[in-house]
């Protein structure tokens, strides 16, 4: 909680005979994050070189490439396969040797056939395109070329063409095209072409065909049809192959990927002539398991040792360590930046605060229910994508919070629920007295908007104070020595400045929901004790900040703007309430109700129109609420909260191994 998983650094050394069993076992365990060995630089060990891949790596890679190319031709991926059974490794190995070459050859043949047919189709299509202008040409195409003394020039002209050299001219009579065909003597061609430029003449090639253009087009069209039929046949054949071998292909892809990764692992190891060594990170709770298993597979002929970590800035990889319900929020953390190993991991707090903020913005039973149903419905759509599942889980939590706040605010689709809002109301008087006429009690419209705004400011004050406190903690743990101290005090200074300003404000103004210190006795010059206390705290805070970096004093105004930024929680929420209420007012009070009072045929149509307005308005508002309710709390976290204490930049923990979905563990 608030800390990433604790990591230990392990060193494994053994003779090269143990290389394969060690790799296989590490891969199977899927917990060892390998630190790649770097041959040059400070980390170099004398006499150790980067290892060579295991024997057979090239053959396996070649088979893998083949399978992947088939898979991409078929457009299949691992996520599409729902079969619960798993292939046995032995069976797979046999089939890869026996069946794969035949399948690959067949697919290759079909693919090359399809490509050939497709390019032929394209060729005919191009020919048809070049023939189309000549469909109403005055003569068959063979008469427009191949003379010894006369050349033909065809093209489009913007205006009627007139040449100085002797020529014969044909202009298309149709309105859609302005094709012009000119016949000139061979000796005059260059003069004619030069003159044609003045008429903005666009030359086109006369196709090398014989017969009338429209006939040829028809003929080619038929050929394209035939080709398309053949292509469809090939596609159908490929579909059957795909269906037959899909599972085999994907499970052998998984199997071979594992094989290749294992075969190439020595590239990340340090090896000498007879021995190898590898360092890596393992979650501390699983260290003993590595010791045991290594000992077992190598029959004791391996040296495993836990290395001391002197400096955690050596950066162990970071794996989140959160209760289950905070897992989805890790998506937002990764979107910003993964926490560093020694840093506080705020995902748990974010998992709690984010839905609360969402609920404050979109506190409406109706919209909450719609989003809840949506999140449950979308679940099957994103299956297979982890980020998608996380997002859906966040949406689910947020919509539950939204329903909760909807009950609190007594709102459903902008209507009021039949009870008074608890504590603070945000019902607005839309439609003025008109609404009251339709039976909406005036008392419902007592809203506490200033109080709500103050409440959101309180959330901001507490959120930012917490951020600064965490800043103190991070400075204390992560930065040693004098600078660390200065940074700690600077963070305390920021808290003091904020609270100093607050106390000074409370001492002079009465604000709802905030302490009122204006009654404290006056000390001198019209300033009461609280004002002076506030100013003292503020100045002290300024001193602390200035000791770390005087330039930071320029940032003082951000204290106020950051805290005020939290008012968006209420402001954005109110805008969504207003849109909902306006939609209801237009649809029901302005369109539907007057018609219901006096039904006619036109009235029924108008009522349907009113329902459309109602639906459209609420769909729009749901989308806006989702966007506003999601983005604004996210922004408050990223911009207002994280900037106070969080740096991120941790390395992701990616253990050597894979989670097998389609193959059995060997």
């Amino acid at each position: 909680m608030f800390h990433p998983e604790s990591m230990s650094r392990l060193l494994i050394v053994a003779s090269k005979q143990q290389l394969e069993p060690v790799i296989t076992e590490l891969y199977r365990m899927n917990i060892f994050h390998i630190d790649d060995y770097i041959e040059k630089g400070d980390d170099e060990w004398e006499g150790f070189r980067i290892g060579m891949p295991l024997a057979g790596a090239d053959v396996t890679s070649a088979a893998l490439v083949k399978i992947r190319s088939i898979a991409s031709a078929f457009g299949i991926s691992k996520d599409d396969i729902n079969e619960s059974e798993r292939s046995s490794i032995l069976e797979l190995k046999r089939r890869i040797e026996q069946d794969l070459p035949a399948i690959a050859e067949e697919v290759e043949k079909l693919l090359s056939n399809r490509n050939r047919l497709e390019s032929a189709t394209k060729e005919y299509e191009q020919k048809i395109d070049s023939l189309r202008p000549f469909t109403d040409a005055p003569a068959p195409l063979e008469l427009l070329q191949g003379f010894d003394t006369i050349s033909f020039i065809a093209g489009y002209a913007k205006e009627p063409v007139n040449l100085s050299v002797p020529h014969e001219k044909w202009e298309s009579s149709s309105k859609t095209s302005n094709l012009t065909i000119l016949a000139v003597k061979n000796s005059d061609v260059s003069t004619a072409e030069k003159e044609l430029l003045e008429f903005q003449f666009q030359k086109i090639q006369i196709p090398q065909e014989s017969g009338s253009a429209s006939q040829i087009i028809q003929e080619y069209g038929q050929r394209i049809e035939e080709l398309k039929k053949e292509i469809a046949e090939i596609s159908a054949q490929m579909e059957t192959i795909k269906n037959r071998h899909e599972f085999f292909l994907m499970s052998s892809e998984e199997f071979l990927t594992g094989d290749v990764e294992q075969a190439e692992a020595p590239l990340r190891f340090a090896t000498s002539e007879h021995a190898f060594s590898v360092t890596g990170w393992v979650p501390s709770s699983k260290v003993s398991k590595v010791f045991e298993n290594m000992d077992k597979v190598c029959a004791g002929k391996v040296y495993v040792s836990e290395l001391e970590v002197e400096d955690y800035n050596e950066m162990p990889p970071v794996e989140y360590h959160n209760p289950d319900f905070a897992h989805p929020t890790e998506l937002f953390m990764d979107l910003y930046s993964r926490p560093r190993y020694t840093e506080l991991d705020p995902s748990l707090l974010m998992a709690i605060v984010f839905p609360i903020m969402f609920g404050l913005i979109l506190g409406d039973v109706g919209y909450g229910t719609v989003l809840l149903v949506m999140s449950l419905g979308l679940r099957s759509l994103v299956r297979g994508s982890e980020a998608g599942m996380q997002l859906i889980a966040i949406l689910r939590n947020c919509s539950i919070s939204s329903i909760f706040f909807g009950i609190f605010f007594a709102e459903i689709f902008g209507f009021s629920l039949p009870w008074e809002p608890f504590w603070l109301s945000r019902h607005i008087n839309v439609g003025g007295s008109g609404a009251a006429e339709h039976g909406v009690a005036a008392a419902e419209h007592v809203s506490h908007i200033p109080q709500l705004l103050v409440l959101s400011i309180w959330i901001g004050i507490l959120h930012i104070t917490l951020a600064r406190l965490w800043g103190v903690r991070n400075a204390a743990v992560m930065e040693k020595g004098h600078h660390g101290n200065l940074k700690m005090f600077a963070n305390i200074g920021w808290i003091m400045v904020m609270w100093g300003i607050l106390i000074a404000i409370w001492a002079n103004f009465t604000i709802p929901l905030m302490p009122d210190l204006s009654g404290t006795p006056e000390l001198f010059a019209g300033l009461n004790i609280s004002t002076i206390a506030g100013i003292v705290i503020l100045v002290l805070g300024l001193v602390f900040i200035a000791r770390e970096n005087a330039l930071d004093l320029l940032e003082i105004p951000t204290i106020i703007s950051n805290v005020l930024s939290y008012t968006r929680l209420i402001a954005v929420g109110l805008s969504s309430v207003a849109i909902a209420m306006v939609t209801n007012f237009i649809a029901i009070d302005m369109i539907i109700n007057p018609q219901l009072a006096n039904l006619s045929i036109l009235g029924v149509i108008l009522i349907i129109a009113g329902l459309v307005v109602f639906l459209f308005g609420h769909i729009l508002n749901t989308a806006l609420g989702l966007l506003g309710g999601g983005l604004h709390p996210l922004r408050l976290h990223y911009v207002e909260f994280f900037t106070k204490f969080y740096r991120g930049g941790g390395k992701k923990y990616s253990p050597f191994g894979m989670i097998r979905k389609l193959t059995e563990q060997n």
């Binding site: 979107l335 200033p450 005020l564 008012t567 954005v572 983005l631 996210l634 922004r635």
Partner: protein, 83 residues
């Protein structure tokens, strides 16, 4: 209208009207400001997302950054209307 003929009701009504105008100006002008700010960020964000779809989340976030100013405007308007 001279000062003598101005009744209490008229004064109240014009005060309410001026409040509404003030609220409108607050939202309108800050909306313009946020729009100008988001204009270039939005264009850049769309370009960046076209290059690399993975940063859509961050890009969307950058786009809403200037929205703070219009929210301040909205808060001012709300305070004017409801206080």
């Amino acid at each position: 209208m001279t000062a003598e003929t101005m009744t209490v009701e008229i004064a109240q009504a014009s005060a309410a009207g001026l409040k509404a105008i003030g609220a409108g100006i607050a939202v309108g002008l800050t909306g313009l400001g946020a729009g100008i700010g988001e204009m270039s960020i939005g264009a850049a964000a769309v370009g960046a997302v076209a290059e690399n779809k993975d940063i859509f989340g961050i890009a969307l976030l950058f786009t809403v950054l200037p929205e703070t100013i219009v929210i301040f405007g909205l808060v001012v308007a709300l305070l004017l209307m409801f206080q």
